[in-house]
Symmetry: C2
Subunit: 221 residues, 2 copies
């Protein structure tokens, strides 16, 4: 466990589950498919939407459409709080009170910077696609200028990030251990079904290896 980079980043509840090092934070962001971006409207109201993200070293990219209200708000310099969570299991204790979940989550604070440089835009959109389906950018048609104009990408420094991890069995108090109640963990995994080809495929196009072999996950998968 490393030091929290700022007070708002520091975990108060269950500090023993916290980590602040780039490797732990990065691995969770790499595995999670989506994140949840929260911001405050001009009227002072909270908003949160799911979106895809990708990490490039110490930068987190989030993606959207130029037409989205979220991105217009962010463009106006709004602070964001980004959270991403991977569920690894349901933890069944003897008492309902001590039920829990195993998870790996990340929270990032920052003020996003809009990506406008053509080269960074090109690189960031590739990284976003590769984050979701590694191998895909070598195959798919890359955006033309018209499409790039419709895309908005924001960059957030990973300076203020924290990870929180629970990976354990139930924590029952001593008194409960004698109860004749099953306790343990139901592991959860995000798994992949049979690929469903588009009906308009050109004949003889094979399913790529990165599709048939697609899997998500770290140590628990």
């Amino acid at each position: 466990m490393s030091e929290a980079p700022s007070e708002r980043t520091r975990l108060h509840r269950h500090p023993e589950r916290g980590a602040y090092d780039r490797q732990t934070v990065g691995a969770i962001l790499n595995e999670a498919l989506i994140c949840h971006v929260a911001w405050v409207t001009a009227e002072g109201e909270p908003r949160v939407i799911p979106t895809i993200h990708a990490r490039d070293g110490d930068t987190l990219y989030i993606h959207g459409s130029q037409a989205s209200r979220t991105l217009r708000a962010i463009r106006a310099g709004a602070q964001v709080c980004v959270e991403s969570t991977i569920l690894d299991g349901l933890v069944l204790a003897r008492s309902t009170f001590n039920h829990s979940m195993n998870y790996r989550s990340v929270v990032v604070f920052g003020t996003p910077r809009e990506v406008t440089d053509h080269d960074e835009m090109d690189r960031a959109q590739r990284i976003l696609v590769e984050h979701v389906v590694p191998g895909r950018t070598a195959d798919a048609r890359i955006p033309n200028d018209e499409e790039l104009k419709q895309t908005a990408i924001f960059a957030i420094d990973l300076d203020e990030a924290s990870a929180k991890i629970r990976a354990d069995g139930p924590h029952d108090p001593e008194d409960d251990l004698a109860l004749p109640i099953w306790a343990g963990v139901i592991p959860l995994r995000l798994t992949v079904g049979e690929p469903e080809p588009d009906e308009h495929l050109v004949p003889d196009v094979e399913v790529p290896g990165y599709v048939t072999g697609y899997r998500r996950g770290g140590p628990t998968m």
Copy 2:
């Protein structure tokens, strides 16, 4: 598709994916294991945390610890925006630009009410456990008064809720259909591994049927 109950609830981007009826919203909240609760701090900053939820008719319950900063903020009358998303698939179009995801998500706006009535508290905590592991409350030890005191539960009316659903193949423009690039959907599912019993189990405690038969999911599972 029904009518949006309020302007902030109405979907602007891809309105064809929207639904506002209680049945659609309810089914997504029932299946999703966790939600993401966003609020605004006293300093005007956004925050978002993952937490468990459960639906009881037109009420959404969210759960936390009395010690949590989030719940202290909510207790002060903060508005919240709650979002929950189930990923159903990765949508690979011929162009990276048209890549998408199949998902079912819900957004709820409201000002949470703290549950203080003993009977509602008892009912809500059972519903929260049953939401995660149906059948569990008949087995597990129910909270004592001391434990109930440490639990905080908030209720949010589902008056202002919207659902957004994408469940389709890739949408490639006509010009791209002739490209010799595989396109289609990689389905995603949250699946369950072998239950892992706690090391301190009393001898001869059997794994309950609601654990061995645990599954999550609606039509895509």
